[in-house]
């Protein structure tokens, strides 16, 4: 069993190599077959791995080592993979959801240029993501960490001919570099402190010393948090994720919702031994998480682009996971990571299906009434919306509730405040998701139908009200009316919808008559079993149920407000926005965060680069030294060139002079320098 562990990352890499090199010449079917085969087999291995780990007598974790990777005095790093229960969950998400999204992409990207390139990148991503979750050391994790960043950059900038896409790719990469810098520094500190980067070694060293708190551990933890905020799009480095929506929708679903962005949470959970020793770092994580959750939810409420709403929702949900980690409820965080992977991938894919059916329209103001036109997409997306809004008994309810409950009962002095922020965010989440739902699927049809010659074509234009009707380009040949997506796209939707419904049932808390299986499953990793057991006494069951009721009520309130604003009386939201135009504009423009960053960080940095680095260092020293060397050579050359005149007589003259000089030395030299 452990021997074919290597195939999990290597197969997608092989797919990347094949499609990346000769894919251009292969027919699309072959490209699809390669991409899908090389991702379904790892999923199959992971399934076997799962059965193996569940079987009786299986080790709690096992490591496969290929041999020393870096071996120098004082530092030894093996190229090794470790599988434990946490890795298993991540692997399941990466390979399972990854495969479904590959399948979906085969339909979604069918008419795109650069089909082979897309699948090559997607496979490359799978390779690095598997490395990331399988690695048994910080360094190998960092390899995967950087690799998924690269894949993300390539895929965000997939439509590289569009300036906005190319810029979004660069933004994602550069913002991530800031986080990676923190990660690197953390690794340096770990090497200095522990002399190793191996997880087991480092965490055992910490466990062996129970009195070790704060200090250097806080420094390492905070630097790791910086890395995590970059990858997982948290304040202050969240700004890249909304822009990353320039990439194709399956990419948004896979990388920017289900897997890559959760790497930061995975990393924090992986290093929980370290974080547990630094209450300060944990508090920072919790505060960042709560602040990001509510902040992003605020922005998400007023966005018009369907994918951007989902992007801000992702940032907000990732904030939840941070919050969970910050109050020490790693299991809850990973649980939410799991359910979020299901329902957010579903939402993105369904949004992609909507966009596909409208031939590329992403503005929700130009949608509406799609319920009847694309029923399967509608129903699957409905599952996703209800799941994320936290309506029981769907997946999001259990995981979100677990986080809120854990925040409430945590001994963090901010616990109650964090809980309240989380609760408000839950209400806002319900609001903006139902807003999306109502605007997209209900109400009048605000889109423009290009080639559909049926009778209601004329009606579309009349009731669009104040909204601008989409300008139709008659030259666009691929528009062929609103249509349901092909089955290759709907199948993943259906699977993910089912998972979004039942995915939460692995974590039904004892208070609701469940067993909270995921908690027991992750016990060997987090070792929180005893604490959780103690806290789930009979008395707290009532509290947990009460909190759950409160959060469901909040979600229903969000639903009700969205219903009022966007279904019952569609003008309400606009009227409200006009009441407080300044506030509305502030939120609609994302609190001007991009502009603030531009003014405070980017402009000074650019000035510094242009004037100091570009002008003085590059222009003065780098170019100057080159120019000086060239001038010296030229000067010497012009001196020596006179000797090489090409004039025979001058050569002869030099020859004669030289001979005369030799003669003189031979005759008189002896008297000058006696032996």
């Amino acid at each position: 069993m452990p021997s074919n562990l290597w195939l999990i990352p290597i197969l997608p890499f092989a797919g990347f190599l094949i499609n990346g090199t000769v894919g251009r010449k292969l027919p699309r079917r072959a490209v699809t077959a390669i991409a899908l085969l090389f991702t379904i087999y790892p999923a199959y291995i992971v399934m076997n791995l799962w059965l193996f780990m569940k079987s009786a007598g299986a080790p709690l974790a096992f490591t496969v080592t290929s041999g020393p990777w870096i071996a120098i005095t004082g530092l030894h790093i093996d190229f090794a993979f470790t599988v434990d229960h946490l890795t298993l969950i991540m692997l399941g998400v990466v390979t399972g959801v990854g495969f479904l999204i590959h399948l979906y992409s085969a339909g979604y990207m069918a008419h795109e240029e650069g089909y082979w390139r897309f699948f090559a990148y997607l496979n490359l991503f799978m390779f690095f993501m598997s490395i990331l979750v399988l690695s048994s050391s910080f360094l190998l994790l960092f390899v995967g960490w950087e690799g998924v960043g690269l894949a993300s950059y390539l895929l965000v900038g997939f439509y590289f001919k569009k300036d906005s896409a190319a810029n979004a790719g660069k933004k994602a990469f550069i913002v991530n570099r800031i986080g990676d810098f923190g990660f690197l520094l953390a690794m340096f500190l770990i090497v200095r402190e522990f002399g190793s980067l191996d997880f087991t070694h480092v965490f055992n060293a910490i466990s062996a010393n129970p009195d070790w708190h704060g200090g250097i551990l806080t420094a390492i933890a905070l630097l790791l948090v910086l890395g995590a905020t970059g990858k997982s799009a948290q304040i202050p480095l969240y700004i890249w994720l909304p822009d990353a929506m320039e990439g194709p929708t399956p990419v948004s679903a896979l990388i920017h919702a289900a897997t890559m962005v959760t790497a930061g949470i995975y990393m924090i959970a992986r290093c929980h031994t370290l974080f547990d020793r630094s209450p300060y770092a944990l508090a920072v994580v919790a505060i960042i998480g709560a602040a990001t959750a509510i902040f992003a939810a605020c922005i998400g409420m007023v966005q018009h682009d369907i994918k951007r709403v989902l992007a801000y929702s992702t940032v907000s949900q990732l904030g939840y996971m941070f919050l969970a980690c910050g109050v020490g409820a790693y299991t809850a965080g990973i649980f939410h990571l799991l359910t979020h992977a299901f329902f957010k991938a579903l939402l993105f894919l369904a949004a992609g299906s909507v966009i596909h059916s409208l031939s590329g329209e992403q503005d929700m103001r130009k949608m509406g009434g799609l319920r009847k036109r694309i029923p399967i997409t509608f129903w699957t997306m409905t599952m996703g919306v209800f799941a994320i809004a936290g309506i029981p008994p769907l997946a999001g309810f259990f995981s979100k509730d677990e986080i809120l409950y854990q925040a409430f009962i945590s001994n963090n002095p901010l616990g109650k405040l964090l809980w309240f922020v989380g609760l408000v965010t839950a209400g806002m989440t319900a609001f903006y998701m139902f807003r999306l739902w109502f605007k997209t699927f209900f109400g009048p049809e605000r889109f423009d139908e290009h080639t559909d010659l049926h009778d209601h074509g004329a009606a579309v234009h009349t009731h669009s009200g104040s909204h601008a009707v989409m300008v139709v380009d008659p030259e666009e040949s691929h528009t062929h009316g609103v249509h349901e997506s092909p089955w290759i796209m709907l199948f993943p939707l259906v699977v993910l919808a089912i998972l979004s419904i039942i995915g939460g049932w692995v974590g039904v808390p004892a208070a609701m008559g469940g067993h909270n299986e995921i908690e027991h499953f992750l016990d060997p990793v987090f070792g929180t079993g005893a604490i959780a057991e103690a806290s789930t006494s009979a008395a707290s069951h009532g509290l947990e149920l009460g909190l759950a009721a409160v959060s469901v009520l909040t979600a229903l309130t969000g639903l009700f407000i969205a219903y009022l604003f966007y279904y019952k009386k569609p003008g309400t939201a606009a009227a409200l926005a006009q009441r407080a135009p300044a506030l509305y504009r502030l939120v609609e423009n994302k609190f001007y965060m991009d502009e603030i960053y531009g003014a405070v960080i980017i402009t000074p940095l650019l000035m510094f680069s242009r004037i100091f680095l570009g002008g003085l260092i590059d222009g003065g020293i780098v170019n100057g030294s080159g120019a000086a060397a060239a001038a010296t050579t030229r000067g010497l050359g012009s001196l020596v060139r006179k000797v090489q005149s090409g004039n025979i007589r001058s050569y002869a003259g030099w020859l004669a002079l030289g001979a005369a000089a030799v003669l003189l030395v031979m005759i008189f030299g002896r008297s000058i320098w006696p032996h």
């Binding site: 004039n647 007589r649 002869a652 003259g653």
Partner: protein, 103 residues
């Protein structure tokens, strides 16, 4: 036997001849004159060879002279052929104008 001519006389004569040769080589522009000056230098050297050979009573110097003469003859044959070829193509024998190799 008359009184011996001192070796210095031969050497001075050879030096004078050689210097004339060098000077002519450097000053004259006509290729044929240059060529002749080379012959002059060669013969100045020949003269020293013979003088020393006589002084030390050894034949090797004389043999060298024969070699030099043979080489000079061959060189004259080839050199004159080259000079004729140059004159045919360039219509001049001025060394300053034969500067194709000069960049």
């Amino acid at each position: 036997m008359s009184a011996q001519v001192p070796i210095a006389a031969y050497l001075i004569l050879a030096a004078i001849l050689f210097s004339i040769g060098v000077a002519a080589f450097l000053i004259k522009r006509n290729l044929i004159t240059v060529f002749m000056s080379i012959e002059l230098m060669l013969n100045a050297v020949n003269l020293t060879f013979v003088a020393f050979s006589h002084m030390w009573h050894q034949v090797s110097g004389q043999i060298f002279v024969f070699f030099v003469m043979v080489v000079a003859a061959a060189e004259a044959a080839v050199g004159l052929a080259i000079i004729i070829a140059i004159f045919r193509t360039r219509q001049t024998l001025n060394v300053d104008q034969i500067d194709l190799m000069k960049s």
